[in-house]
Amino acid sequence: MSQLVLEKLRQRFGTAILETHAHFGDDTAVVDAGMWRTVGQFLCDDPDLDFDMPIDLCGVDYPERVPRMEVVLHLYSIAKAHRVRLKTRVGDADMAGAELDSLVSIWPGLDWLEREVFDMSGVRFRGHPDLRRILMYPEFEGHPLQRTYPADKTQPLVAYRSEAEAGTPLEKLEPFGPDEGMPFGRGGLPRVAEDI
């Protein structure tokens, strides 16, 4: 992969670019969260870079690290046929302060992607026109793709149902036991710190 994109970013933003790498051929730059919007705007506007297509936005949770939630943006330029991966990190151990500027005004395609990152990972986007859940229903509690969200957690049934209306007991059965079906070093669920 050409060094052009990473070079220009480093030149222009200096220390705001926390790290760069090009492992497996993917140019990656980690950006300070406060500069997220500025860097994004530069990537779109600069004529040499010309990143006009937003490919993907997702969150990756690293709960042992602070800040824990890494937001990953992939961009592509149709004209220049080059790609970049832009990453930033937000949120402390309880996901406090997990906020980023919305880039919807730069790339409208990020509208739904930012909603998905909010829904699944719990990162709020400042300035998003309509930040609400997209894949989950509005009464859902929690953000499923955070690694501290246990896979066997059951959600309460939608509030308006009464047991008489539902015809069955409202206490949901656990779908499966803890750690079930997870042999060998498969991470396992982080043990909830209990006072016992």
């Binding site: 036991g177 803890p178 750690d179 079930e180 042999p183 060998f184 006072d195 016992i196």
Partner: protein, 529 residues
Amino acid sequence: MPTFKLDGKAIPFEAGDTIIRAAYKHGIEIPHYCWHPGLSAPANCRMCLVEILPKPGQRPLTLDILALDPQSGEYTVKQKPKLQPACYIAAAEGMEVAANSSEHVRQARHDVQEYLLLNHPVDCPICDQSGECKLQDYWLEYQKTPKRMTDEPVHKPKAVVFGPTIVYDAERCVMCTRCIRFMSEVAKDPVLDMRERGNLNEIVVAPGRELDGHYTFMTEHVCPVGALTTKDFRFKARVWFLRTAASVCQGCATGCNAHLDYDPRYNKAYRYRPRDNEAVNKYWMCDDGMLTYKEAHDGRIVGASVGGAASSMAKALATARSLFAGVAPASVAIVLSARHSLEDNWAMLHFATVLLGTQNVYFSRRPDGYNDQILIHADKNSNTRGVMQLAPGAKQLRALVDDVGARRITHAIVLGGDAPVDASALATANVVAIAAHEGPLTQIASVVLPATSWAEHAGMYVNAKGLRQTAERALLPLGASRPAYEQIADLAVALGFARPASKLSQIRTQLAAGVGTDPVSRRGSALVV
């Protein structure tokens, strides 16, 4: 501290350390089968071979070999460096050792692994070691090639019963002699030896003897493959379903560190494995201790009872309240337990002295038993010293029997159910017992509240040497049991007092550092030996 270089990395070592031991202490694993940090090094498996680079100006140690030239198809004499076993060569200042970085070492590891698997039976699906087997791990890391031998593998006896606890499979055995050396060096009973030669080798028990004694489980523990299995654990559980908790054996006052392996799907404990701790149990545990994991499930009290009949917690607490209504604190005794954690005992003591206002503190324990010079302590309670330090004036249970007989004590709140003496005389008193296991005291109690065992709540225990150790929680509380400190808090509320501290963190802050020496002394075994 003197250092030597391993693959370019400087490793510090103490005088007398072998290369493999110095690397092990530093967290680097050189593959091995026959070496064990707690045993002598026989250097018979040859898996730990490393290349020791010659000092500048020194002639390298080489071997003449016949190498096949692929083009000409002829054998020519070549030299290759003579590799040394890292378990036997002492580290020296300035020594340069090439392990992973040497092509010769990689080839040697491949070849050694291939030889070990040559006659190995295809037992993985039925072998208990599967999932924690060095042969499996090293095949994937160092060999990665399929079988080249087309002959029938050598067949040897399988499922040979060595003794009351151990079963041996000669086909799986890699002849590392760890079991022989363990019995000889640590258990001081050289009952195992090797027989025959070459690929007919097998381990045998001395004629006229069985593999018995107090440390037979350790032969299974040191066995790197599935040749030695315990009758207790074989075919019971697959290790990849088991999770582990760093626990402390409750069998005696030595307080051996252990891993308690349990299956979270069924909330069941399946076995103990020793946890390394140089200061307490080195790398070993005794057979009786290894079997005490069963106490997580056997003889457990998991529901409240009133007068011997099962009851609900609410009713039990109500009965306790009525039993203790209007009773003078001077005629109430509390009994601490040498088998319960510091937190449980502290909560009981605090309730008695601060809330109830009684000075009648006793303690009870399991009676003494067998002891030896290796690991086993005569005191079969894990926390005697801890109780003694918490309540120095606590009287023996014998004194309580006397006091009840003389009607000085009419009511008792008992932690645990053990009694070292005949406690049937206590039946005349009104006894509320909070216990995890059935015992003489719970038999005579009017009200029994279920407590969690050591496996179900994190607790601290002080061993005979005064070391305070923490056992982590493994299982979820069984049945209706809850930690004794929570039951005590509920009992206090039922008897009309303000609720005392009932969360682990609160109790630990109050317990402070006054009890037992040293903070938690725990060494997790990062490397499987």
